[in-house]
Symmetry: C2
């Protein structure tokens, strides 16, 4: 935990918060905090701040909190991901939140097994805890929006433009791409960093079907290849998301 | 398995190979191969090729093999990594081999616990099996060289230049860097893709110490920051390695 996240409804005693459970254990056991110690804190979907340890009370910890005036920015990259096997998705939640992603849209696809949608790893209580774990690792407060889409086609045709307006860039990773991501982003006379919102689509094990690729192309997705190596979904997500995040961060400097 | 890897000493019957165990199970169960089916194969540290299923004999599979004339290229990026916790290292082996890395140099550092070096995840039989799993996923045949360094300072001072000649680029990821990796790579008038060998150094949880950072700087490492988010070692390795690999692959086109 590089930041202790506090839920807004826990702030029910002025600027003081009473923590118990895992966060209190971490503060006592790992950070070895004693009264007066300053800790990095954040309000979920709100600003970051500083918590001063006021008191260790039994197993609990009491912090007095001050917060910055502005929220951290929402990450520039959104992810549309064909739902991977539950075992893989379970591991991915925290990594995605740590890398920084604005939205996570999990969709069906021809090569996604229907039963994956019945997994407990798609229950909000389950994934919210994992996302918070990733935010606390990365030092962020902004919880990614999660949407679970059981039918890809109507989503792309009817909803995509409102969820992700057309002014952003839409990219799709597929071996059929003739350019890699840097070549996709370069325009004559421009260097590769870019600005604005990005939506990245990552396919299932086995890839998108030709019909699905056509649907994405019709929605303005540019296809790029991620090199000759075939990566597991989780490795591919981390690899592509981090590359796009680094590129978009470069532009802000 | 996107490629079935065969050890050179298994080719003891002309161009035919008898496979049993996991690979035979995969060929029969997942690929549902029958005689005549063509499979992507590769010789460990040798060329890729094609295997024709000749016979299913009990639980075994007999393939007749033809190989390309040239080996695939060794990946352009080498990794020097402060040894992470055994649980993390266990997961990393296959991912590193899948992403493609020429050498994996695992070192000690001030913030690496000594006991990590006694873990079974550093035994050659253990990690070679994991590396082969990653190669079979990615469709590569070239096993990364692995070196385990218990003392960082003498290695940097006495061995680094022979293991990794000075003509390559040396990069170190650390929050103290004032540029990100793209800014590090850009020279006036040049775009960010680059050529030649790259050595990437990734520190332990908690980072390198100022003394260690000085040693790396003295060895010609350029420091870059990987953005404001603090990533777990395994996420950071996948993120940085893939970004550098994509960048170096861009240059080859």
């Amino acid at each position: 935990m590089n930041l202790i996240l506090i839920q807004p409804n826990e702030m029910n005693d002025g600027d003081r918060v009473h923590l118990s459970g895992e966060r209190a254990e971490h503060i006592r056991g790992v950070l070895c905090a004693t009264p007066g110690k300053l800790l990095r804190i954040g309000l979920l979907n709100g600003p970051k701040g500083t918590g001063t340890v006021e008191e260790l009370r039994g197993k609990d910890v009491v912090l007095s909190c001050t917060f910055e005036t502005e929220n951290p920015p929402r990450p520039a990259v959104d992810l549309l991901l064909a739902l991977p096997r539950p075992k893989v998705m379970k591991r991915l939640w925290a990594q995605l939140a740590a890398l920084g992603v604005g939205r996570i849209i999990l969709t069906n696809a021809e090569k996604v097994e229907r039963c994956y949608f019945d997994s407990h790893v798609l229950e909000p209580d389950f994934y919210t805890a994992r996302l918070i774990e990733g935010l606390q690792q990365a030092g962020d407060t902004i919880l990614p929006d999660v949407r679970i889409i059981r039918q890809l086609k109507p989503f792309l045709e009817d909803e995509l433009d409102s969820v992700f307006p057309n002014i952003g860039k839409r990219f799709l990773a597929d071996p059929s791409g003739t350019q890699n991501i840097f070549q996709c982003l370069e325009k004559p006379g421009e260097k590769c960093p870019m600005s604005g919102k990005i939506l990245l689509a990552v396919g299932p094990e086995g890839g998108w079907t030709p019909y699905e690729l056509e649907m994405f192309a019709a929605c303005g997705f540019q296809t790029f290849h991620a090199g000759p190596r075939i990566l597991r979904t989780d490795t591919a997500c981390v690899a592509l998301l981090s590359t796009l995040t680094l590129l978009s961060a470069t532009d802000e400097k």
